[in-house]
Structures are given as structure tokens and as C-alpha cells.
């Protein structure tokens, strides 16, 4: 059985106990240790910078042309912390409880408590770096409330919180570059993990500018490579977001967990054409004043403004009278899908719902609404050419955040010794549903505060380890495999682009392993994905050469997505319950609410790779709740 290595002691003391007893490395020895950090988002930059400040030698990798462009930059809403500046009864415990409940009781108590505990220091750290969080007129930090909680604990920097936190972490990283403690490898993509004696000792990376295949050796490897929501092709993620680093580590032995737990964000711009590449997120704050509705009648061809009040179905207000338009993300997204599937969707592809501000404008005046959301209305106009003060916005749920990822223990170490996973790339803190503004926090906390304790704790045992170089046969093997795959892609004589396969896979997953799933849909999906993979292996067409070649980059990513997609379906199929973002239609109440099964599924599923088109093997980590009582998560 896999062991999460949760420290002993009371919940509130565990992390302190850990820190008190973790092993230290003296400064002279730190200089002798090299650490590879893949990813420069909030998790990767903060971890790389902090380890370098401590005296380790860090190599930092990202596929963008600058560390600053990691997709953390796109987060809008804010970051949570239990500072209780509003004196509204917030506390570390309350934040812990909200997060555990929000995750539908499918995360570890100890990890979540630590997340809430470390949130306090994160705000201090960010402010010290120059992050311009919103302030009140008295000069103190301001907060707002965010999705599904009753306190105001969200810190924000206009609608660009992720960007500002990212710049803070990036600048800390650049400071260490100039100090000579970090070397950056931008435009580099990790294509394999190298194991020596069962431990992570390096990576194979492709220089995306020259096409060279490089070997990099280290004493530990950190993957902070972000989420894989792009597996759905249409998503709120950036075009380059991928699963390749974690997937290749998975194929080398690291287990994956919560793989099918994907959060669909309810307020995104819908798809309006076949060539669309991205579903842009519109801030959830719009739901504070916008009312969500669809026509009562299926197949209503009228434009929204022509549909009279009595023929509109405000389905969230109808189904969830207490939380109404502010119901949590998973519930709002599912309710939208239910109406769209019933034929009540609006817009050119009948795949959207209305987000209507007419009542708010009538009651509060246009000026007030403009003051609150002016930039969002402008963005809507920019993208759609539509004035949302005059007609409802059209919105639709989109793949957004991956709760799943590499399984990690309390140390954030995967099942491969010396391989750590941080940020969205790991599975650990959000259970089956992430609360808004908790993932910027998790990425930062993992990188600034947790890994810089747990990695040295591991490395202290590595000081006497044998020195290895990149001439080791394990490096040669791994490099050969990478080369072989790239050559195969370039030499395939097919006729279909990587995007074609990616889009086909995305559509399939939206339909069969998306907002809701059934045994039947998942079984079909597994068969279809396998046959899509076969066709990919023969019919792919890549033009260009080994140099700068975005098509070659895509091919590797899509190949991994195809395998990951299959695992997602296995994961969703095996879990015969509904919890959080995982809604199995077989397990619902007569009025369509999720039915969780704590008796049989109160565990983390950790999957082991067994080979292509072979069933993966399931390992279980039981979830033990010592502090909270499991309840039904109701927002009625």
C-alpha cells in the first residue's frame, strides 16, 4: 500500500512537527547539490528561487521564451489567505474546513490544513516582493469573497492577480539568475525523466530553438509543469499547456491520482466556430450581478432579447434557491450542461446560456455596473463584437483546472524517490473540486514554503550517493528513446495534422468524460481513444525539420494526451460514485444531485502505468478523517 507519510501529532501541529524534525544540510554541502525544476509558473519559479536563496544550484526549465509567461499569468480572480483582515470570523481552521468540504471530502486533512496555515505567510511574501494587491483607502489590504464561502479571504490585484503574483515570483527567480544560483533554460521542453538506481537523477530536454536534445543531471527533479486541461483542446488553458512532463514521469513509474477530476468553469465564452482555439474565461465575479437563464422552450430560435420574461428559465435560482446564481462551479456548470443537452441552449451553436445584466442595470444603474465590470464588458465586446449592456452575455462551461495529477506524499514527493511534483501538476489539496482562488495559493505555498523544507530533507540522504554524469547508460537510453519518437513523427507519411487528433480527442472527452459520465460513455471512450491513437501513430503528418518546429512539439504533446485521455476514462469508470467534479449519471438523487459513496470510495486512486493499451493498475490510499465529519455537500 502507498504511504502518504503524514506526520504524527494533532492536525494543527503536524507541519511544525515536520519542520522541527526535518533534516538539515549545512551551507557548504548545499553548494554541491543540483536541483532541476521544470516549470516556471508560480510553483516552479517560487521553488527554484527559494532553493537558490538557500544555496542549492538550480536549473530552471520552461517551454516559453521567458519564465514570466507561464500560464499562472492568466489567473484573474484572486488568491485566498486566512488573514481574517475583515474580522469576519475567518481562521486557518475555517479555511481548512471550507477547502475540505469544497473538495467533497476527497483530499487529505493534513495537506489541506498546511495549505491554509501557510496562506498567511504567502501574502506577506508577495507584498514584500512588490505585488500591488488592492488596498482600502486607509492603506490596508482589501479582500473580497469568492465562490461558495461566507467570509472575505480573497486578495486580488484588479483582474490580474495571477499576473502580479507571477511577476513577483519571476523577479525573485531573475534575482537568483543574476546571483549565479539559477540557470534558466527557456524554450526547452522536458521529454523524459532519467532514473538511476530507481531514483530521479535527471531529464532529457529538447531545445526548441535549435532542436538539440540535451541531457541534464541533478540530485533531485521537481516537476511544476501545470495543469493538463488542454487535453480537451478547447479550454481556458494556454495553447502550450501539456501533460508531457508528468506523463513521461508516469510512464517511468510515478503514480497518477484524481486523473478524471477536471473542473469546468461555468462562465467562459462558448465555442462559436470550428476553427476556435480557446475558450476565454470571464471572471466569475460577474455572477454576483448577472442572472443566468435559458429559454423554457427547447429549440427556441428567437434572439434572447425577444424572449419575454415568463418564457425564461432561471434554472440556478429555480434549483438552488439559497445559492442561486452563485452556486459552486461544478454545480453551475453541470446545471448549464443539463439545460443545453435538453435543447435549451442559445447562440449560433446552441451551446451557451444567457448571463443577463438587465435587472442589475435597471436596479443599480448602468454606471454602477460599468464601475464593477467595465473591463470585462469591454473584453466581451473585443472578442465578440457585442455590447453586453444591451444584450445578455453568452457563456458556457469550459475545461479549466485539473484537480488530478501526479500522486505525491506529504513531502510532495511522487512514488519515484527524488521526483517531486508541485502546483497544479500534483493531485494533492483540492480533492474532487477546487475552490476558487485556492490554486494560486497552492502553487505558491508548494514552491515557497513546502518544497524548500521537504527537498532538503530528501537530499540529506543523497549527500553520500554515488556521483553520476550524463554519460550514464540511463541517460543514453532515455535520449535514444526521445530521438526515436521525434524521428518517427518526422518520417510518418500520414495526412492529418496533430491539431486534428487533438481536436478529435477533445470533443470525445467533452462528450464522454466531461461534466458528466456514465459507464457506457466511458467504456466507449476507451475503445475510441485507442483507435484514435492507432490512427495517430500512422496517419499523422508533420512538416518542417528538427529545428524550430511547433508541429513537432504538438505531436509529442498530443501523443501523451491520447494516453492520458485513456487513463482519465479508466479513473472515471472505476469510481462508482459521484463526487465534486466527477459526476457519474448512475449515482444521483431523483432531483439530479451527486451521490457520494464514502463506504466504498473514501480513498485516493493512484494509478500505475502498465504499458500501452494495457489496463493500468490501481493502488489505494485510504482517506482518514480524524477532524472533520463527512457530510453531504448541499447548496440547495
Amino acid at each position: 500500500m502507498i504511504d502518504a507519510k503524514i506526520p504524527a501529532g494533532d492536525l494543527a501541529d503536524k507541519w511544525n512537527n515536520y519542520k522541527d524534525s526535518s533534516k538539515l544540510i549545512n551551507p557548504a554541502n548545499r553548494k554541491k547539490l543540483d536541483i532541476i525544476v521544470v516549470g516556471t509558473g508560480l510553483a516552479g519559479s517560487s521553488c527554484a528561487a527559494t532553493l537558490a536563496e538557500q544555496g542549492y544550484n538550480v536549473k530552471s526549465f520552461c517551454f516559453q521564451d521567458s519564465a514570466r509567461r507561464a500560464h499562472s499569468v492568466a489567473a484573474q480572480g484572486g488568491v485566498n489567505a486566512a488573514k481574517n483582515y475583515k474580522n469576519d470570523g475567518d481562521s486557518v481552521y475555517r479555511m481548512f474546513y471550507d477547502t475540505i468540504k469544497g473538495g467533497d471530502f476527497r483530499s487529505r486533512e493534513a495537506n489541506v490544513y498546511r495549505l491554509a496555515e501557510c496562506s498567511l505567510a504567502l501574502i506577506d511574501q508577495a507584498v514584500a516582493q512588490g505585488v500591488p494587491f488592492a488596498r482600502e483607502y486607509g492603506g490596508y489590504l482589501n479582500n473580497r469573497s469568492f465562490g461558495g464561502v461566507q467570509v472575505s479571504r480573497t486578495f486580488y490585484a484588479r483582474g490580474q492577480t495571477g499576473q502580479q503574483l507571477m511577476i513577483g515570483a519571476y523577479q525573485a527567480l531573475m534575482r537568483q539568475v543574476s546571483a549565479g544560483k539559477v540557470k534558466t533554460y527557456t524554450r526547452h521542453e522536458m521529454l523524459d525523466l532519467v532514473l538511476i538506481d530507481g531514483k530521479a537523477r535527471g531529464i532529457i530536454a529538447r531545445n526548441l530553438e535549435t532542436g538539440e536534445i540535451e541531457r541534464h543531471v541533478a540530485n533531485a527533479v521537481v516537476l511544476a509543469t501545470g495543469g493538463y486541461g488542454k487535453v480537451y483542446y478547447l479550454s481556458t488553458l494556454a495553447m502550450g499547456c501539456n501533460s508531457s512532463a508528468i506523463w513521461r514521469a508516469h510512464k517511468k513509474g510515478a503514480f497518477m491520482s484524481g486523473v478524471s477530476w477536471i473542473q469546468f468553469h461555468p462562465t467562459c465564452l462558448p465555442q462559436i466556430g470550428e476553427t476556435q482555439s480557446k475558450l476565454t474565461l470571464m471572471s466569475e465575479s460577474l455572477r454576483n450581478d448577472g442572472r443566468i437563464w435559458v429559454p423554457k422552450k427547447a429549440g427556441d430560435e428567437r434572439v434572447p432579447n425577444d424572449i419575454p420574461e415568463e418564457e425564461r428559465d432561471y434554472y440556478l435560482e429555480r434549483r438552488y434557491p439559497t445559492f442561486g446564481n452563485l452556486s459552486p462551479r461544478d454545480i453551475s456548470s453541470r446545471a448549464a450542461k443539463e439545460r443545453i443537452d435538453a435543447g435549451c441552449g442559445v447562440g449560433p451553436m446552441k451551446n451557451a446560456v444567457c448571463l443577463d445584466f438587465s435587472k442589475a442595470i435597471r436596479e443599480q444603474g448602468r454606471d454602477k455596473i460599468e464601475e464593477k465590470y467595465g473591463n470585462l464588458f469591454r473584453m466581451y465586446d473585443k472578442i465578440n463584437g457585442v455590447d453586453a449592456y444591451k444584450e445578455p452575455m453568452l457563456i458556457s462551461p469550459a475545461a479549466h483546472f485539473t484537480m488530478g495529477g501526479l500522486w505525491v506524499d506529504y513531502d510532495l514527493m511522487t512514488t519515484i524517490p527524488g521526483l517531486f511534483a508541485l502546483g497544479e501538476a500534483n493531485f494533492s489539496d483540492h480533492g474532487a473540486n477546487r475552490l476558487g482562488a485556492n490554486s494560486l495559493l497552492q502553487s505558491c505555498v508548494d514552491g515557497y514554503f513546502i518544497a524548500p523544507y521537504t527537498i532538503p530533507n530528501y537530499l540529506s540522504g543523497e549527500l553520500k550517493a554515488e556521483k553520476v554524469t550524463t554519460d550514464h547508460p540511463a541517460f543514453i537510453d532515455a535520449e535514444n528513446n526521445v530521438r526515436e519518437q521525434l524521428n518517427r513523427f518526422l518520417n510518418l507519411k500520414g495526412h492529418l495534422s496533430a491539431d486534428h487528433f487533438h481536436k478529435t480527442l477533445g470533443k470525445l472527452l467533452y462528450d464522454k468524460c466531461g461534466l458528466s459520465r456514465t459507464r457506457k460513455s466511458l467504456e466507449e471512450a476507451i475503445v475510441e481513444i485507442r483507435s484514435l491513437k492507432k490512427s495517430f501513430d500512422h496517419e499523422l503528418k508533420i512538416t518542417g525539420d528538427e529545428g524550430v518546429n511547433s508541429e513537432l512539439e504538438k505531436a509529442g504533446r498530443v501523443s501523451d494526451f491520447l494516453e492520458l485521455g485513456e487513463l482519465m476514462c479508466h479513473d472515471a469508470l472505476q469510481r462508482e460514485e459521484s463526487c465534486g467534479a466527477h459526476f457519474r449519471e448512475e449515482y444521483q438523487t431523483p432531483d439530479g444531485e451527486a451521490v457520494r459513496n464514502d463506504k466504498d470510495f473514501c480513498y485516493v486512486s493512484a494509478w500505475e502505468w502498465k504499458g500501452e493499451a494495457v489496463e493500468p493498475e490501481l493502488h489505494k490510499e485510504p482517506l482518514v478523517f480524524e477532524t472533520v465529519k463527512l457530510t453531504v455537500r448541499s447548496y440547495k
Partner: protein, 248 residues
Amino acid sequence: MKLYLKVWRQEHRDSKGGMISYEVDGISEHMSFLEMLDLLNERLIQKGERVIEFDHDCREGICGACGMMINGRAHGPLTGTTTCQLHMRSFNDGETVYIEPFRATAFPVLRDLKIDRSAFDHIIQSGGYISASTGQAPESNSIPIAHEVTEAAFDAAACIGCGACVATCKNSSAALFTSAKISHLVLLPQGKLESADRVVSMVNQMDTEGFGHCSNTEACEVECPQEISVLHIGRMNYEYNKALALRK
């Protein structure tokens, strides 16, 4: 609609590039500019040709990766808009559109429209940070900062590092980019302590990287997708002169 494109194609850093013509039909006004290029690239693949390389990632105007000269203007005809946020409804059927990379000595072309902007990273490395290591931070509310000051710092910190300012400037100056960072940090109490060294070091780094001098044409502000103000350049000059004057 149908467009006639003239696109800069260049194999490598050192090779000679040139404009190549493409006709693209079947464009919908809802497409973004980059989706229009995706469409063309898909067709190039079908013909067995190498695709047009361009940088992009978030496609929502915040990562700063995209950016090209479109009909001679950085990020195209609209103001306050990145290339990824530009939509085809801004173009007319039958129009000819010229697409070129951002050009500057400090931004060498890698392939087609992809350029090397690492000079910007070097400028930040030379001092564009506050030296606060993890663990050193005091309680965040212990230093109140006036609302207006935070907002002004934010305005400067909103720069996405795209390089449009450099590409637009006839001198290829990085003054707008650099000054935005100077302003962001000097406005905040946390950043004041290091301000003199920072500004001298960053300004010198601009020269080292091969960016030109600012001659106050203010062209950069017009094309900046984040509408960063040229007033920051004034502040940078002030801080620079102050630092030199106070230096022993």
C-alpha cells in the same frame, strides 16, 4: 472573407528572409488573427509545406508571447490590444495584409515571426526586483500603502513584456518596458531602498543589450497593449539623474 497575406519567412537567425504571398479564403470575422494563421498553417501542412512559426500561448492578451507587425503596426490596427485578441472583423474582404516579426537589433529573428526577446529577461536580472528572500517578509499589513500609490504601481506592473514598444520605436528603445519596471518598484515603500542602484543598473543593461536611446517620440505608448504611459520614462530619467547626482 478572403485575404491576401504577405508573410515574412526566414529559416534561421542568420539566414536572409523575405516576404511570401499567400491567399487565404474561408475566413470568418469571428476568428482571431492567430486562428486565421492556424487555418493557413493547417492548409500548408496539407500541401506538405513548413508552417509559419509564430509565438503565442495564452491567447487572452496576458502572457505577452504573441506579437507581430501587422500592416506596419505592432499588434495590428487596434489600440490596447494584443495580436491574439485582434479579430478578423477588423479587416475587410479582399484586403492585403503584411505580417512581419517585431524588429530590433536586440530581438533577433529565430524563424519566421518568432524572435528572441531574452534581452528583456536580462534587463530584469540586472535589478528589476525587490531583494526579499523567502522567509524575510514582515506582516503584510505592517506597512500601509495608500490606495492611489498601489493603483499607480499596478498600472506600471501591468506590462506584459511583449516588446511592441521596442518594435514601434524608431530607435528600438526599451525605455517604456524598463521604465514601467522602475516605476512599479520605486513607487512602493518596499522597493525604494534599492532604487538608485536598480535604475542605474537597468539603464546600463538596456545599452548593453543593444537597445537604442529614447528620443521622446511617444510612439511606444500608442502601440502598447497595456497602455503603459510614457510618463514612466520621465520618472525613470528623473530617478536615474537623481541616482547619479547622489552617488559619491
